[in-house]
């Protein structure tokens, strides 16, 4: 076995998590008293608490830190202010993705990157390989526990035990040194659910205390949420997942993340390949679809149009809030527009679906 455990493992035991092997981590797919669907609705309607301590973190410092990160990622971090966060893919020279990540800017000479758990070692090796003079890199993944509090009640509940006015932390901004229940945290207004909410980075030895304090502050309105609902929430909100919508062989332009690929930046890894792809137009593109026949689309299922293979499902499933069976598919670009009748091959049988636009969840604001 040899599964790794996060600092919050005792909480998963206490709250009766259904523990699974999640990329080498022993984490709850759901909690036995609730289950994925109830947890999903909990986050959309109230708020939920997630253990995302398996995520990787890299600390980047030095006078060349900004130049280094700028070369590493496809988004433009130039306009980022101190305490601001941005999302970006990180690409290979051929435009395929090493990972997608969040960049936290402390200052011109200090950045903090939050990367996917399963990619942590690969990403860190990639960064080290491309390190430039004037930069120091450190994989600080083991130094942080990460909790996510997500949902419409997140701000109200967290505010009760927080020494800082959370209204000051705008969407995709952060503050270090925030005291939550007296515990030192870096708090960012970010998340992976399509809801308002926060992610809190803290010391592993205070993580359980913080978890309990947040649940206590919620007085029953906050429940622990497992990774199963984390996936249905992110999928329903059409947020990309590495290994699905993005991958070694899928470029961010194919995944329609154009606004995070700043070809106008003078230089970054993958720029030439992506500029070319942008000019020529990608041969494949991500498209939304909804099942019109009876069946649930799942990742890797084949997609056909008129009996011809046109691509595959990158993510799919039952969208609990919308009550529909939805999918995302990477298809030949001529089919990547709304209103096309396609077939999803489910257990060797074609089942009808239709491509669309705006099919996914958007939080009412």
């Amino acid at each position: 076995m040899g599964l790794r455990r996060t600092p919050l493992y005792p909480m998963h035991v206490k709250y009766d998590g259904n523990m699974i092997d999640f990329g080498g981590w022993e984490l709850p797919v759901e909690y036995k008293t609730t289950g994925i669907l109830a947890e999903h609705h909990q986050v959309r309607q109230k708020a939920g608490l997630f253990d995302v301590s398996h995520m990787g973190e890299v600390d980047i410092r030095g006078e060349q830190a900004e130049a280094f990160v700028q070369e590493l990622v496809t988004n433009d971090i130039g306009p980022l202010k101190e305490n601001q966060v941005c999302y970006s893919p990180m690409c290979y020279p051929d435009g395929g993705c090493v990972d997608d990540l969040l960049v936290y800017k402390f200052s011109k000479d200090r950045f903090f990157l939050v990367i996917n758990a399963a990619n942590t070692d690969k990403d860190f090796a990639w960064m080290q390989e491309h390190k430039i003079p004037g930069v120091t890199l450190e994989n600080v993944s083991d130094r942080y526990a990460e909790l996510a509090l997500q949902g419409p009640l997140a701000e109200r509940v967290l505010q009760e035990i927080c020494d800082t006015d959370l209204k000051e932390i705008k969407y995709y901004w952060f503050l270090p040194g925030v005291k939550v229940a007296g515990i030192d945290c870096l708090v960012s207004r970010t998340g992976y659910t399509g809801e308002d909410g926060f992610e809190l980075f803290t010391s592993p030895d205070r993580a359980c205390e913080l978890w309990e304090a947040i649940l206590e502050a919620g007085r029953g309105t906050i429940l622990p949420i497992g990774l199963g609902a984390r996936d249905t929430l992110r999928f329903e909100a059409k947020m990309p997942l590495y290994g699905h919508e993005l991958d070694r062989d899928i470029t961010p332009l194919e995944a329609r993340l154009d606004r995070f690929v700043r070809i106008d930046k003078p230089s970054f890894t993958g720029r030439e390949a992506l500029a070319r792809q942008k000019e020529e137009g990608p041969e494949r593109l991500l498209v939304e679809f909804e099942m019109t026949g009876r069946g649930i689309p799942r990742a890797h299922y084949e997609v056909q149009e008129n009996g011809q293979n046109i691509g595959w499902v990158t993510s799919g499933g039952y969208a609990p809030t919308l009550g529909k069976n939805l999918g995302l598919a990477l298809v030949k670009s001529e089919f990547a527009r709304p209103g096309i009748e396609i077939d999803i091959i489910i257990r060797n049988k074609p089942v009808k679906a239709r491509t669309g636009q705006g099919l996914f969840y958007r939080r009412p604001r």
Binding site: V29, I36, L37, R294, I296, G317, Y318, R347
Partner: protein, 128 residues
């Protein structure tokens, strides 16, 4: 976890209730519990013939896709169509919701299945 008396059980966590030469087949409480929230059921076709162990349908939860097998051989005489509209009822009442009814072609096969006591022990072992 509920295990009912007077049912036959398979190692794939299906139950069989026999009435005359008809076998009602469904999934056990253990099965629904492990699948999690069920959101889709694919039923067999009426009049199709199956041998014991054949896949007769598919049950999908939010996270998993599972084949439904028949523990006994026979011909499908009825399917529980209500499950297509309310797949979640399998979570709430797994022993009250059969998937299909088969006319038994070889009643002696029932001897290969477990009784409640044996199945209880089987589940306990599976949990270890």
């Amino acid at each position: 976890m509920e295990i009912r008396e007077n049912l036959y059980y398979s190692e794939d966590h299906e139950w069989v209730r026999v009435e005359g030469d008809l076998a009602y087949v469904g999934i056990t409480d253990y099965a629904q519990h492990h699948l999690g929230d069920i959101v889709f059921v694919e039923l067999p076709e009426i009049d199709s013939e199956y041998a014991a162990g054949d896949t007769i349908g598919v049950i999908e939860s939010v996270k998993a896709v599972a084949d439904m097998h028949t523990p006994v051989s026979g011909t499908v005489v009825e399917v529980n169509e209500a499950l297509e509209q309310a797949p979640e009822s399998l979570n709430k009442d797994p022993y009250g919701r059969h998937i299909a009814i088969l006319r038994l072609s070889d009643p002696e096969e029932l001897g290969n299945l477990m009784n409640a006591e044996q199945y209880t022990a089987f589940c306990e072992q599976a949990e270890e």
